[in-house]
């Protein structure tokens, strides 16, 4: 149906200088002093500009790519891209050998330069990262791809720069799958939608004929699992976003919901509701074997595996109210881990393994928070009228979730939007979507 991921990248590693650079960013605490970085527009010669117009209807693809990079670095909250108007050196000269004094003068600590050519329907991009204070090159890379892939080139450059300066993998060359929402609250039309992490390239994967909820990426492939009310039978489905193929997961005589993949991508874990009781089940995607994991008269839902596949965190009201539990992945050793005041839901294990993110309801307010996997160290990152369903960036540093506004007695004023926040609790931002949006799920890195 929709072929999104069929483009391969050729990645040439020029050289990565293991310089003892002076600049590095500590991302473990809230960064109130983002690193000043100069992102020079990528240079493009006149011939390439002509090809760029022909291929992409964009004259200066070099500065477009640098805008993608700039925007990514800015929204991470860790970088402060400097105004291009202050730049003294021309892009082509800077890319060969920056005059470090000029860049130091405008208080840049790092500089990104580059060059773009479009020839024979191929886009070739080189970029370099410079340490201004040490006066040396930190990294140089080149990519060749099809011209239409230019935004991804910007995301990959952003990831490389982020990784080089923070020591951790980036999260820019990723996508978000979510539920697009339109219409009045009492007759909401919901569609599966997918977009780049920065809100571009939105594509709709369903038409809105049936209710769809809670899409989640497979961390190892371009598969998605979600809940669909197709033919008024709420069931967990599997969707291949490359081919558009869909299938029901398992053959359950009742509602299946709250699906998620195991970290190795081989199983789907979900709830199955029957006779007023919801329990947790898994289905192996290779041999289709279904296993029952919990067996309790309470509601057991929102399961999420630990990244080593050994444990499962889930939501249960077996204590009388919604709380968070952890068990071994065979269902044994069930332990409650949430003990704070209020109700807890939607636990989701960090890809780093150390934390569980959750939604908390207390005294009419909703919070997104994190706690250690034994329930200690609870930290609430953000408070609002309504918000829930955090999903981790693949590097475990950022959470994306959705937030709803209160409506008045006529139902006016309601909206649902995606938001992201740093694990530190800083840098809360609305994530732009074409329509109202909910239930976001962050993909793994597409490249690297």
């Amino acid at each position: 149906m929709i072929r999104i991921f069929n483009l391969t990248f050729l990645l040439f590693l020029f050289l990565i200088t293991k310089a003892n650079s002076l600049i590095e960013i500590d991302i473990t605490r809230g960064n109130l002093d983002p690193l000043p970085i100069a992102v020079s527009p990528l240079f493009q010669d006149d011939n390439s500009k002509k090809n760029s117009i022909n291929e992409l209807k964009v004259e200066n693809i070099g500065s477009e790519i640098s805008s993608v990079v700039e925007n990514n670095l800015k929204t991470s909250g860790l970088f402060n891209p400097l105004s291009k108007e202050a730049f003294l050196q021309k892009p082509d000269i800077a890319h060969l050998k920056p005059r470090f004094e000029d860049w130091a003068l405008i208080k840049a600590q790092a500089l990104i330069t580059g060059k773009v050519t479009i020839e024979n329907k191929k886009l070739k991009v080189e970029f370099r990262l410079w340490d201004i204070l040490a006066g040396r090159e930190m990294m140089a890379l080149a990519f060749t791809t099809v011209p239409s892939n230019w935004r991804r080139v910007g995301h990959i450059i952003s990831d490389k720069v982020y990784e080089r300066l923070t020591g951790e993998k980036g999260y820019f060359d990723t996508r978000i799958i979510y539920v697009s929402e339109e219409g009045p609250k009492t007759a909401r039309v919901k569609k599966l939608a997918i977009m780049d992490q920065d809100g571009f390239n939105t594509k709709y994967l369903t038409l809105g004929n049936e209710l769809v909820l809670t899409p989640r990426f497979n961390p190892t492939s371009q598969m998605v699992t979600y809940l669909s009310y197709f033919k008024n039978l709420p069931r967990v489905y599997l969707l291949d976003i490359e081919t558009g193929t869909q299938e029901v997961v398992g053959d359950f005589p009742g509602m299946t919901f709250a699906p998620r993949f195991s970290p190795d991508g081989k199983k789907i874990i979900m709830s199955f509701a029957k006779d007023g009781n919801s329990d947790i089940y898994t289905m192996d995607l290779e041999n289709r074997i279904v296993e029952r994991i919990t067996n309790h008269p309470s509601i057991d839902t929102s399961p999420s595996y630990s990244p080593d596949n050994k444990f499962i965190t889930f939501n249960s009201d077996r204590s009388g109210f919604q709380q968070i539990y952890v068990m071994k992945s065979d269902g044994s050793n069930v332990k409650r881990i949430s003990f704070g005041k209020g109700l807890y839901g939607t636990p989701v294990w960090s890809p780093r393994g150390d934390l569980i993110a959750f939604t908390k309801l207390h005294k009419g307010k909703f919070y997104i928070g994190v706690m250690r996997t034994d329930g200690s160290g609870e930290r609430l990152l953000t408070e609002n009228y309504y918000q829930e369903a955090p999903s981790w960036s693949p590097n475990g540093r950022v959470l994306i979730f959705y937030r709803e506004t209160k409506s008045n007695d006529k139902g006016e004023g309601f909206s649902a939007k995606l938001w992201s926040i740093d694990l530190t609790g800083y840098n809360e931002r609305q994530v732009q979507t074409e329509t109202d949006a909910s239930d976001p799920s962050w993909s793994s890195l597409l490249s690297n």
Binding site: P184, K185, T186, R188, K190, L211, L213, T214, L227, N232, P234, G254, M255, F257, A258, S271, A273, D275, G276, N277, S278, I299, T301, S302, N315, D317, F321, Q322, G345, T346, T359, L361, G364, Y386, E388, A389, E404, K406, S407, N408, D409, K410, G411, F414, S438, D439
Partner: protein, 162 residues
């Protein structure tokens, strides 16, 4: 007749609110109290009818699936009507309000629908005539964000399946 009954109820509510506002109380919210007991909706003004004199829905307290006396009364009427109309099958839809996480609410809606179904079965309706579906918080009838709206949305609704 249905119309006139709901009209009468609306009229009653208007009258009540007039009296309340006439008392010049500071809080206008007091006018909703006549339609909620605890946080359970007790009014009938938005209720559609499964059949003449047989309300189609029952209401629940926050996070609860326990049937109130009034709910049981409604479900007995539904059971009587289903006994008399043995060719009709029904779907019981379970719903939750917007103040809970989506996945838990799906489970809660399923629990509520089954509470209603089980009661119908107790009153002699065959289980295979009743299917259930949970919509969680996805299909509110009242789009307001206030306790009265939420109380109307925490419901199970019995609808004809054929």
């Amino acid at each position: 007749m249905n119309f006139s009954k709901s009209f009468r109820n609306i009229f009653l509510v208007i009258l009540l609110s007039l009296i309340v506002s006439a008392c010049a109380t500071k809080k206008t919210t007091t006018k909703v109290e006549g339609q909620m007991q605890g946080d359970i909706y007790t009014g009938t003004d938005t209720v559609k009818y499964l059949a003449d004199g047989v309300p189609d829905r029952v209401f629940f307290a926050t996070n609860e699936s326990i049937l109130t006396t009034k709910s049981r009364d409604t479900l007995r009427k539904q059971a009587n009507w289903l006994r008399e109309n043995s060719s009709i099958n029904v779907v019981v839809e379970g719903h939750a309000d917007e103040r809970g996480t989506r996945e838990y609410n799906l489970a809660l809606g399923e629990r509520r629908a089954n509470a209603a179904k089980d009661y119908l079965i107790t009153y002699g309706i065959s289980a295979d005539r009743i299917s259930v579906i949970s919509y969680g918080k996805e299909r509110p009838v009242d789009s307001g964000s206030n306790p009265l709206s939420w109380s109307k949305n925490r419901r199970s609704v019995t609808v004809k399946a054929n």
